[in-house]
């Protein structure tokens, strides 16, 4: 019933979108209905972010917009003209893995691997949120300041609950994140 992008026959509603993706300026012409996820995967060939549920339920499409973790399947590419996007492909630096990537290997934080890029992108930004003192639903008293020493495994589990792993690798994922965050 709904036509694919290429078959759309109505007047051209496409928009020019320029985004700084993993540090490089990328420009594309996108239909408004193209999600950020589809733009990254199909237009910019960045297939790290995964299209799994496509409904904002699983977290496999997690990327960063201006440093904040978001679900790229639930937003439109054309709404992010002028913004900075980071995908898993942009995480390593000069051949050096990000500490979260290293710890996922160290702790065997994946089995099939399909959720892994989303898990890692989520964890990287989550640690920054915690450093900024953001509370979570696992925080006993939200009126008190939150510090990194409060980032227990229960906190990590709550803060990572937007990323599902159907292999159920959660204990290893939590261990990897906890080690990067300085918690053992």
């Amino acid at each position: 019933m709904i036509k694919p992008y290429a078959e759309q026959a109505q007047s051209d509603v496409r928009m020019d979108v320029s985004m700084t993706v993993n540090g490089s300026l990328r420009t594309l012409r996108a239909e408004p209905r193209m999600t950020l996820l589809d733009a990254l995967r199909d237009e910019l060939a960045l297939t790290g972010p995964k299209k799994s549920c496509d409904r904002g339920e699983c977290g496999a499409c997690t990327v960063h917009i201006e440093g904040r973790r978001v679900l790229s399947c639930m937003t439109l590419a054309a709404m992010h003209d002028g913004q900075g996007i980071t995908t898993i492909e942009g995480l390593e630096c000069d051949g050096q893995l990000h500490p979260v990537q290293e710890m996922f290997i160290e702790h065997d934080g994946f089995q099939c691997g399909f959720c892994t890029s989303g898990q890692i992108m989520s964890a990287v930004a989550m640690i920054e949120e915690a450093k900024e003192g953001w509370p979570s639903a696992a925080t006993p008293d939200v009126t008190e300041p939150f510090t990194m020493s409060d980032l227990s495994k229960a906190e990590i589990r709550e803060r990572m609950s937007g990323n599902l792993c159907r292999c159920s690798c959660y204990p290893n994922i939590v261990a990897a994140v906890a080690q990067v965050a300085g918690r053992r």
Binding site: M1, I2, K3, Q8, Q10, V13, M15, E31, P32, R33, T35, D54, R55, G56, G59, T62, R68, R69, V70, L71, M74, T75, L76, A78, M79, D81, S122, A125, M126, E129, E132, G133, W134, P135, S136, A137, T139, D141, V142, T143, R157, E158, R159, M160, S161, G162, N163
Partner: protein, 331 residues
């Protein structure tokens, strides 16, 4: 998704005028509800107007009198992290943090959270089953269908859906105001009058008209604010909508309740204030569990369960009691 056009204006008057004259135009902000509705074919706007570039709609202001003004475009996570909101109204912070996931809270706005549509599975069904909220006059599949998650208060034969927002429950308990700008200028709507019960027009979730743009939420100074708590029960512990939730705020003198504010989520098509219970709670000791329970029960005489959700009547009273006791411990 179906094809549509997108505009991204920076002028608020132009945005309001466009919405007022075009019945096939929808505002989009965080998009986390609207894009899901479009993917499922529930709503098919021909034009979207991205309001993210409109100026001055995302601030979080601590008002000098002790209240708050939260811009409609403020993100859930920003509001939940704000030090003033945390110290003045913990119930607001908790209602936000118990909703959605970290990623969604970075995207979803305060305005969109309050405007989000029901999670009734018949409303969102990809096969477009009968639903009066989605297609007026088509019938209600939940009335005699699977209705474990549905309403026990204020429903009609045309619709038994519940409102999914956690934040709305907290704002109802605090008697916040919704600031709206429309073609005729600005107006303020008391929060408890913002959402509508289904009656025979379940397609209308709230009182906004075409051309109306929510610009902010104002929370008046509340002496009960600091002693407040949001408690949410759900089928899984995180990243799930409420079965039943309660926002409670209380002011007490030597453990005796001076005033209490209680609203329930997951039980009606709007946040459900326990007005009768609030009256009955005045003067009751926070340490007298039986008396607290009796006072709360005063609001449940009008509860009407459906085939699969009678459990919510007892569950809601217990959740209200525990939320009240936790809020009371902060008094």
């Amino acid at each position: 998704m179906h094809p549509f056009a997108l505009s991204r204006p920076t002028d608020i008057s132009a945005a309001i005028a466009a919405h007022a004259r075009d019945a096939h135009l929808a505002f989009i902000a965080g998009g986390t509800d609207l894009i899901g509705l479009m993917k499922d074919g529930v709503t098919l706007p021909e034009r979207l107007l991205d309001i993210n570039r409109l100026p001055d709609l995302a601030q979080i202001e601590a008002l000098p009198d002790g209240g708050l003004r939260i811009g409609a475009l403020a993100r859930m996570s920003e509001v939940a992290a704000d030090p003033h909101v945390r110290s003045r109204f913990p119930v607001i912070v908790e209602s936000l943090l118990f909703a959605a996931s970290g990623q969604l809270r970075n995207m979803a706005t305060i305005g969109g959270n309050i405007m989000q549509r029901t999670r009734c599975p018949y409303f969102r069904d990809e096969d477009n089953l009968p639903c009066n909220k989605r297609r007026p006059g088509s019938g209600c599949s939940a009335r005699f269908g699977l209705n474990r998650n549905h309403a026990i208060f204020g429903w009609s034969d045309d619709c038994v859906a519940t409102h999914p927002s956690d934040l709305a429950v907290a704002l109802a308990a605090l008697d916040a105001n919704v600031l709206v700008r429309g073609p005729g200028g600005k107006r303020s709507i008391p929060f408890t009058e913002f959402h509508l019960l289904p009656g025979n027009t379940p397609e209308r979730d709230n009182v906004l008209e075409r051309g109306d743009l929510m610009v902010a939420i104002e929370v008046p100074q509340r002496i009960e604010g600091r002693a407040s708590h949001y408690l949410k029960l759900r089928d899984r512990q995180s990243y799930e909508f409420a079965l039943v939730s309660t926002a409670a705020a209380v002011v007490a003198d030597r453990r005796r309740i001076g005033s209490a504010r209680i609203a329930l989520g997951g039980v009606a098509n709007k946040p459900w204030r326990l007005t009768a219970a609030e009256s009955a709670l005045r003067g009751v000791s926070l340490d007298d569990t039986d008396a607290l329970m009796t006072a709360i029960a005063a609001s449940f005489t009008e509860a009407r369960p459906l085939a699969h959700n009678a459990f919510k009547i007892e569950l809601a009273q217990r959740v209200a009691l525990r939320a009240l006791e936790t809020a009371g411990a902060r008094a």
